[in-house]
């Protein structure tokens, strides 16, 4: 990866864009970041993203992408000022079998990249033009407000290109204690590439982490994403999947929530035969919040998509899942399933689910449903009749409820996920 950090002139995209409700200080910080961009490509990217943000604005209390979140919390987080730009990039290591990118307070702190994977920075002079152009186009059309800001304000937007037919693993780790950290990543999987990605975070209680990651899959490529929210902090993560012909993406998100934990998944099944499976397993307790916002678009025929989100709510916690499936006119023979389920196990908790289907084609199979309930009385009685006491029966049923969402993951990931979720379920048991 190139470490070229020299300032380049002229600032081609420097015109100020006024955004209602955005304080001058934030606009000025974004402008300063654009001005400090090391390459025209980075500057153009940041400018395109900021313009997208300017069109979207700060979400008001009625904004339907944020229906179940506290508008004040969202606004306060989004308007936090970014840290001053970092001048230098860290030296990483080449070789090994695994790509690891470790970010601290928004900056890349350490990385390893195998020989058969290409890491490029928008700030570097070796960024392939096609990647930069595709990514910039995507940022310019960004519909998600936090993501538009993440693209605009990330200190070091990085792209990974996985060449055709390569099978590899990528580990992304985001950590920090700073007031705000924005991250922007673009992963391009060439034809038939096959990649496992883990995404994890570890933040201070008052850190706002705002991350946008786009996956662009060429025909036949496959990605399996295992994402876990951090246990604390204000977290907003946008995952975008663009799937070409016969590409497959699987994504599992595990969360026990925090002050604010929002995940937005946007997917486009753009080529025939594309397949998407998005899962969520949430156990949220105390005062924690978990919000999931999903938008799946079938734009080509013969695509299949599955959304399965399971959340258990205890204490005074809140969980929401807002999912939309759009089937375009030409996307015949689409098979889309969506199931958003909550177990609401405390009187003070709150669970919201909004399943939506917008179908413009006439030869499709689409199912959607949402449930909010307690553990099933008939199932509980069955277990009790085999000698399990009520608490054990309920625990087993809750485990089973969440387990359905986890079964897409390999055994070691399932075990780790269950350990995390189980701890949240039993939080406060001893008191």
């Amino acid at each position: 990866m190139s470490g070229d950090t020299s300032l380049t002139a002229p600032p081609a995209n420097m015109r100020a864009v006024h955004v209602p409700d955005v304080p001058e200080a934030l606009a000025a910080a974004a402008a300063a970041l654009r001005a400090a961009s090391a390459t025209p490509a980075l500057q153009a990217f940041r400018a395109a993203a900021w313009e997208a943000f300017a069109r979207l604005g700060i979400p008001g209390s009625k904004h339907e992408d944020f229906t179940y979140l506290s508008p004040a919390d969202v606004k306060a987080a989004l308007l936090r000022l970014p840290a001053a730009p970092r001048a230098a990039m860290v030296e990483g290591e080449a070789g090994g079998a695994l790509t690891t990118l470790d970010f601290t307070d928004g900056g890349l702190a350490a990385f390893t990249v195998p020989e058969n994977v290409d890491l490029h920075a928008l700030a570097g002079d070796d960024m392939p033009e096609d990647l930069a152009a595709a990514w910039t186009q995507l940022a310019a059309a960004e519909p998600d407000i936090p993501a538009a800001l993440a693209w605009s304000l990330a200190q070091q937007p990085l792209a990974l290109r996985i060449p055709a037919d390569v099978r590899t693993s990528v580990r992304l780790h985001f950590a920090g204690q700073a007031a705000r950290a924005d991250h922007a990543l673009f992963l391009r999987l060439e034809a038939n590439a096959d990649v496992d990605v883990t995404i994890e975070g570890d933040f201070g209680a008052d850190t706002f982490s705002n991350t946008a990651i786009a996956f662009s899959l060429a025909p036949g490529a496959q990605v399996r994403v295992m994402q876990a929210d951090a246990a604390s902090g204000l977290q907003m993560l946008k995952l975008r999947f663009d799937l070409d012909r016969d590409a497959r993406a699987t994504c599992l998100s595990v969360s026990t929530g925090s002050r604010l934990a929002r995940l937005a998944v946007e997917a486009g099944l753009n080529g025939p035969g594309a397949d998407l499976d998005v899962r969520g397993a949430t156990a949220v307790n105390g005062e924690n919040r978990v919000h999931r916002h999903l938008k799946i678009r079938h734009a080509a025929p013969h695509g299949t998509s599955n959304q399965l989100f399971k959340a258990v709510v205890l204490g005074s916690a809140r969980s929401s899942v807002d999912g939309t499936v759009v089937v375009d006119r030409g996307a015949q023979q689409t098979d889309a399933r969506q199931l958003l389920q909550h177990q609401l196990l405390s009187p003070d908790g709150r669970a919201d689910a909004k399943p939506r289907l917008l179908i413009h084609a006439d030869d499709v199979k689409c199912s959607h449903g949402a449930t909010v309930g307690k553990t099933d009385a008939a199932q509980r009685f069955y277990l009790e009749s085999r000698g399990l006491d009520t608490a054990t029966a309920n625990a087993l049923l809750t485990q089973a409820f969440l387990g359905e969402a986890l079964d897409v993951a390999p055994a070691n990931v399932r075990a780790a996920a269950w350990e995390t979720l189980s701890a949240a379920l039993h939080e406060g048991d001893a008191s």
């Binding site: 009790e384 089973a400 409820f401």
Partner: protein, 253 residues
């Protein structure tokens, strides 16, 4: 004198209303060790109610009488306590529990009993041996271990799974509610073989059934006809044959 394993005396039970419906109206029945009893009766006679009341189903209210297991009343016990004391219910419609693996569920249930008896709990490896042996008895494919409890099982597979649970839990008294319904002849033979293998001098079995055909395979010592919430006639295995040919009208009037 031998203490009966199960003694039901003048049992009255209702579904609380409004309106309250009395379903069992003075049922009495005694099962001694080593005995197999069959209860037959027309639809609505109270057969399934008897099983649910014995199990402690929360929908039913016992208004009079008692149910004793080895001389100890079950009525104040929760459903799980009754099970741990040695009562097993084979359900007519076993529920599906996706996400709970059949093997893990059986191990937990077996260990709950072992713990109650002060025995060491079985780890997954030790339990595997126990389970394999019992599954062989019921001619069950190994894939049923990892599937969710009854998840996607056919009617016959569910019944087979009930008998597998009975084999693993080794109860003192098993009440099997229409275990034969939904079974084809081959499955009926296998399930009956399982019940016969489990029955012994230390336990007792109560079969609730509509049809004589189960009793061709599992020979009962006593047959009782239930009608209007009480037993109206008792006899030997030949009583079931009479019912098969003559129906219930000659008994129930």
């Amino acid at each position: 004198m031998t203490t009966p394993l199960l003694q039901i005396t003048d049992l009255h039970a209702s579904l609380p209303g409004p309106p309250t419906v009395e379903l069992l109206k003075g049922l009495s029945l005694t099962l001694n060790p080593g005995e197999v009893h069959a209860i037959m009766g027309p639809n609505g006679s109270g057969k399934s109610t008897l099983e649910k009341v014995a199990a402690g189903h929360p929908d039913y209210e016992v208004t009079a009488g008692d149910v004793l297991l080895r001389g100890e009343s079950l009525l104040e016990m929760s459903p799980d306590e009754r099970s741990r004391k040695g009562l097993f219910l084979g359900f007519q419609y076993p529920v599906e529990i996706p996400g709970v693996s059949n093997a893990e569920f059986l191990r937990i249930a077996a260990n709950v009993r072992r713990k109650e008896r002060g025995e060491e709990e079985l780890d997954p490896f030790d339990f595997q041996e126990v389970l394999d042996e019992k599954m062989k008895l019921l001619d069950m494919d190994a894939r049923y271990k990892d599937r969710g409890v009854n998840e996607g099982f056919s009617g016959g597979e569910k019944k087979r799974n009930e008998i597998l649970q009975m084999a693993v839990l080794d109860p003192a008294v098993a009440i099997l509610d229409e275990t034969d319904s939904g079974l084809d002849v081959d499955a009926l033979r296998v399930v009956s073989h399982g019940i016969n293998a489990i029955r012994g001098q230390d336990n007792a079995v109560l079969l609730i059934t509509h049809y004589q055909r189960l009793l061709d395979y599992v020979k009962p010592d006593f047959v009782h006809i239930l009608s209007g919430g009480r037993i109206v006639k008792s006899g030997g295995a030949e009583l079931a044959l009479d019912v098969e040919t003559r129906g219930y009208d000659w008994i129930t009037g």
